[in-house]
Symmetry: C2
């Protein structure tokens, strides 16, 4: 069972191996290492996921590469390794300090002669993103001579691998190196590890270092292992780099490296921390959520182009390690307030993947930019037409995420618009941002239809956020988002025209956009967005109100298999009003200014009981909207659900037969959104902070910081007032 | 095993009870009695289906009423009934004379003392449609005294029943009556039976007549049972009518009634027979097919309105006893050539159900006439949104026959157009036919969309004839049919305007059609119909060519359960190019004048290997098109498949877990279509017969007759020539 303390989470039984892999994850944006013990074998899903490095094995799903483990260490006695599964296990705890991203484990085994204890600490350096550091301490209460073996373990776990080949090892003293390459694109992956410790009798065997430890029954033995990883995407000669990195690390030593690492974290928390008074659990859970965002934030400059944050962060290979709308919609707001340069990076990643989005549009006979539902490094869609496996037949199920969930393109435009609105930074528009907006507008213009019967333009055959209902017409959310794209295109052109008419003229000419522009202006007044009915409820899509109106329990009772997919052709939810996640409510949360409190309340009351919340993207939208209608206490459980998503580890682990476990950065971002935008009523417009306090009734105060061009602003919100002061200059 | 002789089909083992029920069906358009033995119990699916009488039990499917059996007879000895399942069964044969629609059975049982034989004959009178006649003969080779019990059996088999209640019996001498009523609409159903025979010692017990037969070992005993059925839809006092009918029958006697019945059949065959020289099997199978059309043809005038032919005829309750496009598309051509008044009746049935079609359009937010996919007596759709049951979960599967298979409305218009083209009878247009055409045009006009991107009108989100691919855009067949509706509306208005301008003006005003008319004219030049690609192949719908291209065997090998539905969300065919039945090929067969032989051949070659032919509507279209391209021998097996469909009884018996067995009148009609339109190259335009001989290579000659206003034409087609002579005046 795990326990959450201030800045620390401790698991004292090690039973939930897969959950702990996520729960105790460490990382630095370049890579993340799952919270498994040093000796973990593939069924425990150990992994070091490298952000933005992908590989495809045969006709399997393309997914991120799980690197060999340079910290792999096994303790043994008389040739028998100590493991968590062994009968000689006495006690075991694992923990994570999420103030500084330090993973620890302490395990004691009973041997014939002594109690033998291994204590380790490790971190993925925030200072040198290529560096993993571990302190490995062995102690015993009586003399005993176990053996410790350390090597770069290439026996990694893959969902759809293997992904690496052509392994070449080399050993130089206490340093060993490995160079290998990905199968598909032959990207070199280089690793090294170096070992420091007391005077050790080591035997360098083939590919592994082996040490016999003569424990005297009182003094522990400490080993320090420094692992480094570089790829061909980072440097021309990654092998040279890993060697240099290791030497540098060994020279600096554990204490120094840890201090540099902590200094970076101190700076992160100086800007990004949130302090909640009156609710210790919320405080801890929110900080834990923010931690998970920081360990996957791509702060480093990549040689090969910008990267963004995948939907499961760097916690594994789930969802192909791909970037979804989660980043723009659920994570970007936190970074927009605290590290807007990261949002610019997310946007640059999308600008750089415009060619992929254009290719996808062409694939469907359309024009403009149809962004990938699951975006990897090129922007080509990693999503297949068969994204779920039927539990009854084992056959792939045709799903429509790839071809019909068209709102992704608009979601990206919204992030651009919000970034520009909040920061006033127009440069990104000229560096491809406006081109992106216009290409997205063009995409929708090329896909919409006109109904002569209803005398309006409509968006047909889409999948909205609620994925259980596929191929629907006039999804309120999608239609409003499309209209937002047109509005943003129009206003952005107007705005930039004033600032730089020549640029606009050149861009319109380059994109040959004049005809589309005229058509867009004609479409806008006739573009259909579903409106509230007499009860104030907005129909999620055409015909939704005709669906069976039964309860969540009734739908659940129809399941024949707990792993069944609820959506798709034969799903239990598809033919009912039960929805997977916030849909109309997401629209209302995004476009709140346009709807009355009556409408917001009516839709909350209508849709919430009909929502499975089968996605980490759901709770936060309900909570945000509830806060706007005086329902902060009602919203509180949704906030907690988001904030503790990766603590509790209760998220869905399967969709059909496909493993979908991992961390939930969108929920992490959603927790901040609810706390700050929801409970504090915060918003940012033209570099100005606005706050409307509406804290849950047991909260006393919230302090958060916002980084604006004029410096770091500290905002303190109490039950009935708020205060803002500038704490420091821009960093 | 069954054997097909000239005009007779004999089954000599009685094993295939359900198949024989269809195979040996007798009927007269008003009703049909399944080919089960007299003593058959519900698991054998005995039935007397009344055309156009429906009932709905609770929330189950609405289906045709299976009437009580006035000919129900059981033979017993010492209280033990003789059945086909008894160990004492010696021999059993059943047969059908399909020249005259006479069912026979002969069964011998071993008793302790003798061999006891029952021989029966029965027919559904073509002369008096309310009358069923049976001769029941019992003989033995040694003295024995069995008991025979005859009563009106109310223990009927229903798929979704029971449908009848409030049973009231009455006995008057050797005549007994029953009146009961349907549950939903309280339609009275009256039955009577009367028994004639030698001097019998009878005991009238409660609800049954019981006779002890003293067989002397040489002389058989003959009983004659006359059963009559009238409903409240036929007369105000059906009870009075059944009594009168029985008395009349008893008075006339078996021989006389049989002679009158045969005379009607002689007249039917005088007009409707086809004579094939050089292929005995084809001759027999085709006549057998035509027999099945005649026993369900609604020749009688109904007090309650016109009726048509359901997709499974009157063979049972499959497909809810509903009328599908089968009638207009596959059966009407035969009757158009031989008894055009029947086609007029089919059309009048559709005209009378226009209100239901209008209601259905309104239900979907559209205007005009959206005809029911499964039409019962009111034209409201009997088809549900869940028409298949998933074999793995037992849950209903959402299917789209009802809401998306919009071509049904156009199919009806095509039948009207063909009827008027062939007969020159414009009166039907003024009696509602043109209103129907315009309302169908309006329906499509209200449902189509304009694509600004492609600058054309499109028909989106439909199901074409190939039901395995649901919710497709721009199905070539459907789009061409919609355009045909517009063309027909336009030309029919022009034509009638010349003849009766006032009528047209009044109709346009009544229907308020002027705006639609103008819009229709604007749409026609911009309405999209998919065209052949460079290889000459027409894509069945947008994106069809993107589907997995695998063989029928591969798709079949993916089945996990033989009863699985191939279509729908999770069906094995849905995501592949494998189609259920002719789709593009149907379009080419219907609009052959518009396409080159190259295109026809290309599509035959492309689509045929990809067609499961999982519908009786498929083979005939492939055969027709093949004949047009010189492929009569290639088409021959398809002809045979259609012609022997109800002989072999190999049609699908299940879709998912739903029973779909019964006769296949569309295949019966398809056999004639292939023989006459295909092999003989017959067509009818403005009352003129056109023939292009293209017989299969082993056929010597085909003779068929066509009824035109100037008389009965006899057409003789040989391998290289044809001849036509008028045989008689119009009848």
């Amino acid at each position: 069972m795990y326990t959450l303390y201030d800045w620390t989470i401790i698991d004292d039984d090690g039973q939930a191996v897969l959950e702990n892999g996520n729960r105790l994850l460490i990382g630095n944006g370049y890579m993340a290492k799952r919270g498994t013990v040093e000796e973990a074998d593939p069924p425990c899903m150990p992994a070091i996921i490298l952000g933005g490095v992908y590989d495809k094995h045969g006709d399997r799903w393309r997914e991120p590469v799980n690197a060999p483990d340079p910290l792999f260490t096994v303790l043994s006695l008389d040739g028998i390794p100590f493991t968590l599964a062994g009968e000689n296990l006495s006690t075991h705890t694992q923990s994570l300090n999420f103030r500084y991203g330090v993973y620890s484990r302490k395990t004691t085994w009973n041997t014939k002669d002594a109690h033998l204890t291994v204590s380790t600490e490790r971190f993925a350096s925030m200072d040198d993103i290529h560096l993993l550091c571990m302190k490995y301490t062995v102690s015993a209460d009586a003399p005993v001579s176990p053996r410790v073996e350390i090597h770069i373990n290439t026996d990694v776990c893959d969902l759809n691998g293997p992904h690496l080949g052509d392994f070449r090892f080399e050993v130089k003293g206490q340093t060993r190196t490995l160079i290998c390459e990905t199968l598909e694109k032959k990207i070199p992956i280089a690793l090294a590890n170096g070992i420091e410790g007391g005077s050790l009798s080591s035997i360098i065997e083939e590919n592994r270092s082996s040490y016999l430890l003569d424990l005297d029954g009182s003094n522990p033995v400490e080993l320090f292992v420094f692992g480094t990883i570089w790829t061909g995407l980072d440097a021309d000669d990654p092998l040279e780099n890993v060697e240099k990195s290791v030497l540098r690390a060994k020279k600096a030593g554990w204490d120094c490296l840890l201090a540099e690492h902590k200094a970076k974290w101190d700076e992160i928390w100086r800007i990004g921390d949130v302090v909640i008074k009156g609710d210790d659990y919320a405080q801890r859970a929110l900080r834990y959520s923010l931690y998970h965002l920081h360990i996957i934030a791509p702060r480093h400059k990549r040689r090969c182009g910008n990267f963004s944050i995948p939907a499961r962060g760097l916690s594994g290979q789930t969802y192909k390690g791909a970037v979804f709308w989660d980043t723009e919609m659920f994570m970007a707001p936190y970074f927009l307030a605290t590290e807007p340069e990261l949002v610019a990076q997310f946007i640059r990643y999308r600008i750089e993947t415009l060619p992929g989005a254009r290719r996808k549009a062409v694939e469907y006979g359309l024009r403009g930019a149809f962004f990938a539902w699951e975006s990897q490094e090129t922007g080509d869609d990693a999503c297949t037409d068969f994204n779920v496996t039927d539990v009854f037949t084992g056959r792939p199920v045709r799903t429509y995420f790839r071809d019909k969930q068209v709102h992704i393109s608009a979601d990206i435009v919204l992030a651009v618009k919000r970034y520009v609105d909040a920061t006033g930074d127009f440069s990104i528009l000229k560096e491809g941002g406006l081109e992106l907006i216009l290409e997205v507008a063009r995409f929708y213009l090329s896909s919409i239809y006109y109904s002569p019967e209803r005398k309006r333009y409509e968006a047909l055959d889409v999948v909205g956020p609620d994925e259980y209902h596929e191929r629907v017409n006039n999804n309120a959310f999608t239609n409003r988002m499309i209209l937002m794209v047109f509005e943003t295109a129009l206003t952005t052109i107007s705005l930039l025209k004033e600032k730089d008419a020549i640029f606009i003229e050149a861009l319109m000419a380059k994109l040959n956009f004049s005809e589309d522009f005229a058509f867009m202006q004609a479409v806008m007044p006739c573009f259909y967005v579903p409106q509230p009915n007499e009860q104030g409820v907005i129909e999620q899509f055409d015909g939704y109100f005709r669906l069976e109106d039964c309860s969540l329990d009734v739908v659940r009772s129809r399941l024949k298999d707990p792993k069944e997919y609820w959506g798709g052709g034969n799903g239990v939810a598809s033919t009912t009003r039960i929805i997977k996640q916030a849909d109309v409510v997401t629209m209302l949360a995004l476009f709140g200014d346009e709807y009355s409190t009556f409408v917001k309340k009516a839709n909350l009351a209508f849709y919430e009981p009909r929502t499975e919340h089968g996605s980490s993207l759901s709770a936060c939208m309900y909570a945000l909207l509830a806060c706007e209608t005086g329902g902060s206490d009602w919203a509180y459980p949704f906030f907690i659900k988001n904030a503790e998503m990766d603590i509790a580890g209760k998220g869905k682990h399967f969709a059909g037969l496909v493993y979908i476990g991992g961390t939930h950065p969108a929920a992490n971002g959603g927790a901040w959104l609810t706390a700050i935008h929801g409970f504090c009523g915060f918003s940012l417009k033209n570099n100005k902070i606005q706050v409307t306090p509406r804290l849950p009734s047991h909260w006393q105060e919230v302090m958060f910081r916002v980084l604006l061009p004029d410096g770091l602003h500290e905002v303190t919100v109490t039950r009935d007032r708020w205060d803002e002061k500038v704490r420091g200059q821009n960093v």
